[in-house]
């Protein structure tokens, strides 16, 4: 049996026995072959002793059982690491931030407690996946949509607490922002409800977010201040129709005004679907086109085109631009999508075209005009998540193909937030491509485009591969940390990261002598004096481990 550091074998055995009394001994796992299931499948420490691993796992079925587990852990000072379904691949998976922690596996808590169609909200437990919630809604023929990430196999609560993003309209794509009300088991085992849920017999827990007084929900995301056992989410009323169209532009200099126009249209809610920016001339597809490109390779890449790409700087050369114009390959292509009544979204599309028409030579094309609802069996004709349909197709994207001849064993997402401007796209390409070249990290093809999950900013996502070779992985880990620091020097910080990089990322958030970090630690000491809750998550260490890990 593995042991958490600093916990005696007697105490650990007692804790495990008491966990068994609380949840049933069949739901406590201590054998290596069981506990190994919680290893991070994309761990950058593959085949290395430093890999973050659990000592045991326990799977409660109710909030009351979670409370008992927490109280037992306090009694024996056993570190816990709660997971919802553990699908956070690329950001740490189900492995703990502190080796030796006991994973609290919440996937048996899988009830969809309520879906209110007229008010368009849901209340769920942590074990509910996007597929579960989607099917719950479909089977009852409720006229509401979920907003899901891609792939959609993860937990609705887990993704929101990790601040994941989706693909429908702007007010639902930010999964943490679209939550309304939480139930949390605090590190001392007490049960807390946030927002209106703090009122006994509350009538509006999922309808008004902040309640009265300080709004504390944020401290339970990307943190270690409690175990969220219920969470409400606002859902999108099922739209009547969907339209997707492209805006194609032929000049390199069109990038900045294109982004500026997009920002205006999105912030004014003229367009609200997921904006997807591609650069066909640079061989960079829209996210919704990734599978097709993976299977067939980018279209229209002649030898001349490939040669021009290899000599372009930051995705540009006058010759490349001329080639694009001559060949009819857009430099930039913006995919816009609209959800709503047909007459409304047609008008929105018209308005969007009018604004983009100010850019010389802008071309417009409608890709999809869809009357909703669609037959779910035909959803794969589209980028499913944009229609609120969870998918697993993303897993075929990384497969070996002519375009992707050496797929990796996994990846670590490097995900800095950068300003929503064309200039920032070019600057991020310059900074990170130079760094990647210097660090010999395979992060770029020629030019990378950011993702537009949220309004007001871009995420400049780069996948750092995980390989079978420990020496290469070590080099990539060190390189990853350098990329984090370089981003910080430019005022860019990660929005989310795997435990192995959380210290490096949080060091970037260092304004005023790391006051944010110190505030987190002050909270930690007050809320979790025994330091049993997810020690080290997002570099928030309890007092007794702080010096060692700072």
């Amino acid at each position: 049996m593995r042991l958490p550091v600093g916990v005696s074998s007697t105490d650990f055995a007692s804790a495990v026995a008491e966990f068994g009394q609380a949840v049933g001994k069949h739901w406590v796992f201590t054998r290596d072959e069981d506990v190994d299931l919680y290893r991070d499948a994309f761990s950058p420490f593959l085949h290395e002793a430093e890999e973050l691993v659990a000592s045991a796992a326990v799977a409660p079925a109710s909030t009351e059982e979670v409370q008992q587990i927490v109280r037992i852990a306090n009694r024996y000072k056993v570190p816990l690491y709660p997971i919802s379904t553990g699908k956070n691949l690329g950001y740490g998976g189900s492995a703990p931030a502190y080796s030796g922690s006991v994973v609290v596996d919440l996937k048996r808590m899988n009830r969809v407690i309520e879906v209110d169609e007229p008010n368009a909200f849901a209340l769920v437990e942590p074990g509910v996946s996007y597929f579960d919630l989607y099917h719950h809604i479909q089977e009852r023929k409720l006229k509401v949509w979920i907003d899901c990430p891609d792939p959609g196999w993860g937990s609705v609560i887990g993704n929101a607490l990790d601040r994941g993003g989706g693909y429908t309209t702007a007010n639902y794509r930010n999964h943490f922002d679209s939550h309304c009300g939480m139930e949390v088991v605090l590190p001392n085992g007490e049960l807390l409800r946030t927002g209106m849920g703090a009122i006994p017999n509350a009538k509006t827990w999922q309808q008004y977010k902040s309640g009265c007084g300080p709004w504390i929900d944020g401290i339970f995301s990307q943190s270690n201040f409690g175990i969220v056992t219920k969470m409400g989410f606002w859902l999108m009323p099922e739209p009547e129709a969907y339209l997707r169209g492209t805006v194609s532009l032929s000049r390199y200099s069109d990038l900045a005004p294109m982004v500026e126009t997009l920002n205006y249209l999105e912030n004014a809610r003229i367009t609200s679907g997921f904006p997807d920016i591609a650069s066909p001339l640079n061989g960079y597809p829209a996210i919704g086109q990734l599978q097709l490109w993976n299977e067939t390779g980018p279209p229209n890449q002649t030898q001349e085109h490939l040669k021009l790409l290899s000599t372009a700087k930051l995705g540009y050369s006058p010759e490349l631009e001329a080639y694009g114009m001559k060949s009819g390959i857009p430099y930039w292509q913006l995919w816009l999508s609209f959800h709503g009544p047909a007459e409304v979204i047609e008008a929105q599309w018209q308005a969007a075209q009018r604004h983009f028409a100010k850019l010389e030579g802008a071309k417009f094309h409608v890709i999809d005009r869809v009357k909703l609802p669609i037959d779910p069996a035909k959803a794969d004709a589209y980028h499913e998540p944009e229609l609120g349909v969870p998918s697993l197709r993303a897993f075929s994207i990384g497969a070996r193909s002519p375009w992707n001849p050496t797929p990796s064993k996994g990846h670590m997402w490097f995900s800095p937030i950068v300003p929503r401007t064309g200039e920032a796209i070019i600057e991020a390409n310059r900074v990170f491509s130079e760094a990647a070249r210097e660090l010999d990290m395979p992060l770029f093809r020629s030019f990378s485009m950011p993702a537009c999950f949220w309004e007001r900013c871009f995420i400049f996502i780069l996948a750092t591969p995980v390989t079978e070779d420990p020496a290469t992985n070590k080099r990539y880990r060190e390189g990853f940390k350098k990329l984090i620091a370089i981003g910080g020097q430019h005022g860019w910080g990660e929005y989310r990261t795997a435990p192995v990089f959380q210290k490096s990322v949080m060091e970037v958030y260092s304004f005023n002598d790391r006051v944010l970090q110190r505030f987190h630690e002050t909270l930690k000491d007050a809320i979790d004096p025994n330091g049993i809750m997810s020690p080290g998550r997002y570099a928030i260490w309890p007092k007794h481990l702080r010096e060692k890990h700072s």
Binding site: W27, A41, F131, P376, A377, S391, L392, F395, A399
Partner: protein, 204 residues
């Protein structure tokens, strides 16, 4: 949903790099006798899954179709959304349903992650990789008796066609430790795997 019905972990051996020994296939024309199955009953398979984009996968699928089995058969390319959404998810939510198959490693990875949500796991894994020359290296992770049965299967020229029957002899939890062995076999041109590595498996 019975947490303890599985054999032993696949992930443990696969990720920890359990000692891999080379087991020589029987000489050409020589067929090894299948070791007798133990007293533990075979796993009842709910479905065979195969990847029709690969010739070996197609052969597996055809053989599964002709096998005298109550298990259904489903073809999956790179995307398992439909299989998951309309078939396995309701089946596994209702209490399980072992599956066997031959797919790409990436498809198995996806199925394996989903299986974990239902307290199921990979109990047999046979990674079929072209090695140097004209050989295929089969990296097997299973119990020793199961490896012995698979070794004999993989020695046959038309091993993809014989895999469904071999995988159907997978037994339930019997506490037998799982090990990893590498078995070589001649690469028949019919099974040329030029695209992605294929894996045969049982999830229960």
């Amino acid at each position: 949903m019975n947490r303890r019905k599985f054999c032993l972990s696949s992930v443990a051996a696969a990720i920890s790099g359990a000692a891999a020994g080379l087991v020589c296939p029987p000489a050409a024309g020589q067929t090894a006798a299948l070791p007798p199955a133990g007293s533990t009953p075979n796993v009842r398979l709910y479905k065979f899954v195969y990847d029709p984009r690969h010739s070996a996968g197609r052969a597996f699928g055809i053989a599964a179709e002709h096998a005298r089995s109550t298990a259904g058969i489903v073809a999956v390319g790179g995307d398992i959304t439909a299989l998951w959404s309309r078939d396995l998810r309701p089946q596994w939510t209702a209490g399980g349903g072992a599956i066997a198959g031959m797919t790409t490693a990436r498809t198995l990875f996806c199925l394996e992650q989903l299986a974990k949500d239902h307290w199921m796991r990979v109990v047999i894994r046979a990674e079929h990789a072209i090695s140097e020359g004209h050989e295929i290296a089969h990296r097997l992770t299973a119990s020793e008796p199961m490896i012995a049965r698979l070794r004999s299967t993989l020695a046959a020229e038309d091993w993809p066609s014989k895999m469904p029957a071999a995988l159907a002899t997978c037994q339930g939890a019997d506490g037998t430790p799982r090990v990893t062995r590498v078995v070589g076999s001649t690469c028949d041109h019919r099974w040329a795997m030029t695209h992605e590595e294929l894996v045969s498996f049982v999830i229960t």
